[in-house]
Amino acid sequence: MADYQTHEHDVLIIGAGGAGLRAAIEASRTGLKVGLVCKSLLGKAHTVMAEGGIAAALANVDDRDNWRVHFADTMRGGQYVNNWRMAEIHAKEAPDRVRELESWGAVFDRTPDGRILQRNFGGHRYPRLAHVGDRTGLELIRTLQDHGIHQGIDVHMEHTVVTLLKSGDRVSGVLAYERERGRFKVFKARSIVLATGGIGRAYKITSNSWEYTGDGHALAYDAGAELIDMEFVQFHPTGMIWPPSVMGILVTEGVRGEGGILTNKDGTRFMFGQIPDNYKAQTADNPEEGWRYCQGDKDARRPPELLTRDHVARCIVKEIKEGRGSPHGGVYLDIAWIKEKLPNAAEHIKRKLPSMYHQFKQLADIDITTEAMEIGPTTHYVMGGIRVDADTQMTTTVPGLFACGECASGINGANRLGGNSLSDIIVFGKRAGEYAAKFAQEHDAGSVDQAEVEEAARRALEPFERGAKEGSSAEGPYKVQYDLQEMMQDLVGIVRREDEMQRALEGLGKLWERAKRVAVHGHREYNPGWHTAIDLKNLLTVSEAVTRSALQRKESRGAHFRDDFEAKDPAFGSVNTVLRRGADGGMDVRLETIPEMPEHLKEVIKEMQ
């Protein structure tokens, strides 16, 4: 039997984006031994890509803002299938978490009186996003990283978890491999926090990096946890579309927050014709009012470009489908037009949106201060994920296993508001760390089953065995991954239909078979082909989860839009889709009624109508 290097921690965090780092910081406060395992180098996780800001009702710019408005906005944006308790905690605790970042060295942009500046964003009634130009995510992750490295956390960079190990019902550790040498390691822990982010790599056009293969979702599912609301995948309205090599790269909503407008090839601001009834009362009906809103006029209503992401993305798809798109199959996002309004517009744009300016200049030869950008929707975020208790973030079915951030689900419902992900990860990252530490203090270390370890390691090495065999029917991991991404994009994308999704299920069956035949060559040291092969299982698990959940929800709600059920169905308005591995090993999907909202929250919703 192989003798794997073993690390023992009280609390083990998997993932070092904002959620994982915040969890690790909190857990380490108790003096427990905390380990942090991450796929990349520290500070490179996807949090770094977040641009626009952190949503928190600080009320620095508009004193009418408070947690109640933020809560109501989040629920409205999520079309009321959110976990209301999580939305409540989030809205209440976000301001403290943001101020805490400042005490750890974050340097947010300032108001004239020296407080944290807040900007407008889609679906938020008041300017609510604390930000640093358009690189807020970098500020957040660097602040947590620079604070965290002095907390005594053991960081294991470039390690990938292959499987969760269990002792009876509860988790007791993980098997991981280090990229550099390809060696397996066992990490024992009393409690484990999953903070692995999203699933964006299941799609071809995505703003997500190679890491976002649904690892946490799949690890938890395999360990017996429930996944909920996996049909809700957010397609961000504005991704780059030209040149081809940059397709999918994010263009921050901050562009629209600063006054950017969406136009079609005829120069029409098409969003004015697409305002849904439930947002009519709070949306501008003319360009002048929209501009005044972006300039901070408290009496003005927000421009329709700042409607929720699900809606804007669909309107863009409609424009393109109906032949009013731009030359490369998108629409225009124009911030340069504000030169009609501001004397020093070019400087203003460069100061407010420096990395957007840089990104377009360098990658597309476009100067956004003088010309419009071509954009189209890109896979961005998954609202669905691991089902957790709202207060503690512990999974509902696996004791000792916690989840937070994008891989957990509940706060966002059917559609996430921009800026709510950065606040989500610090609010619930903290809670996950706190309660995982509590669990570790109250429980002994579980045991690790060597046979389980051996079996997991053997399975992880199978692609090499197949690679060593000549003349087999093996194929490369990248080809299978590309085919999966292409299929999910085509058949389970922004607009969905029963027959297409049934075809996707069949396709997934074939891809599962192909994944079993994938072969890799070379040795185990820093071999991306091997890593891609191992990640395939996770990608396939989450793709199947998205497809099966989407088939179950026979209505259109939030990010989930069905061509064959175009309307919202009140019957689906009170249910979550819940997935769990069945006794036969297959994926069981069921609908579960959402617990009724308590009176005090109902009143908030009513008051904010």
């Binding site: 180098l41 403290d96 020296g114 970098l138 500020e139 790269i249 040291e525 082909g529």
Partner: protein
């Protein structure tokens, strides 16, 4: 379709060589796209780091035609494609495999720098007041994506291997961001002079030239730090005062 040749360094600490790969070239492609294409079709096990592919995470640092750059932000149309494009790993750090180097030294260095220590909050809710003008410079430094290209190009590290005595441009920028932070109350000048080795920098400004975030590393961070160290330790009037002042103080 147009093709181009990429001469990519393959190997590990034990040795290796440049290997040529031909691949299709499309409009708008960056070097990282070419590397990915080669990885997917010809060399599945070609090792390289990357994450965001948008110049925000600083993972894909390499030397392209001999110049330290981010692979994701280097457009192919800015390179002469009639001859092979060479791509090799950073030189200032030990090699792991192919284009991947062991940058762990950087993480160890950062841990040695005294952390942020704010003054007490200005308001009862635990918040502070800072003017935008007072944080512009710190925000410039905090744009750093930790790609370590400045460390790679710095001759003190690259050629003279002073990793034990000099923290390099990245971490001088880091110290500068802390020292110039309006809320910070820590004093790092003694370390700057001794353990951090600010004196090793002789202002050739190579770091500023390669910085993908256009941080004015030398002029805005390193030179002011040098001045502060000089003021603290080498000011003749101050030294005289220290020498003459009554001992009881």
């Amino acid at each position: 379709m147009k093709q181009a040749t990429f001469s990519i360094w393959r190997g590990d600490a034990a040795g290796g060589k440049f290997q040529d790969y031909e691949t299709d070239v499309e409009e708008g492609m960056v070097v990282l796209d070419a590397v990915h294409q080669i990885q997917a079709t010809q060399a599945n096990d070609l090792a390289c780091r990357w994450n965001c592919k948008a110049g925000k995470c600083g993972s894909c640092s390499a030397e392209i035609n001999g110049i330290p750059r981010l692979m994701c932000m280097t457009r192919l149309n800015a390179l002469p494609l009639e001859k092979p494009v060479t791509i090799e790993p950073m030189k200032a750090f030990p090699l792991v495999r192919d284009l991947v180097t062991d940058v762990s030294w950087n993480f160890a260095v950062k841990k040695r720098i005294k952390k942020f220590k704010p003054r007490p909050p200005d308001a009862p809710d635990g918040s502070w007041r800072m003017a935008q003008d007072d944080i512009d410079r710190v925000q410039e430094f905090r744009k750093c994506i930790e790609c370590f290209l400045c460390q790679d190009v710095c001759h003190v590290l690259r050629d003279h291997h002073k990793h034990e005595e000099f923290i390099g441009p990245r971490f001088l920028v880091y110290v500068a961001a802390l020292e110039m932070h309006p809320l910070d109350t820590e004093d790092r000048l003694a370390e700057l002079k001794e353990a951090h080795g600010v004196g090793f920098c002789n202002i050739t400004k190579c770091c500023t030239t390669v910085c993908p975030e256009n941080i004015t590393i030398t002029d805005n961070a390193i030179i002011p730090l040098k001045e502060r160290v000089v003021d603290e330790f080498y000011d003749p009037l101050k030294s005289l005062w220290k020498f003459l002042r009554p001992k009881k103080y």
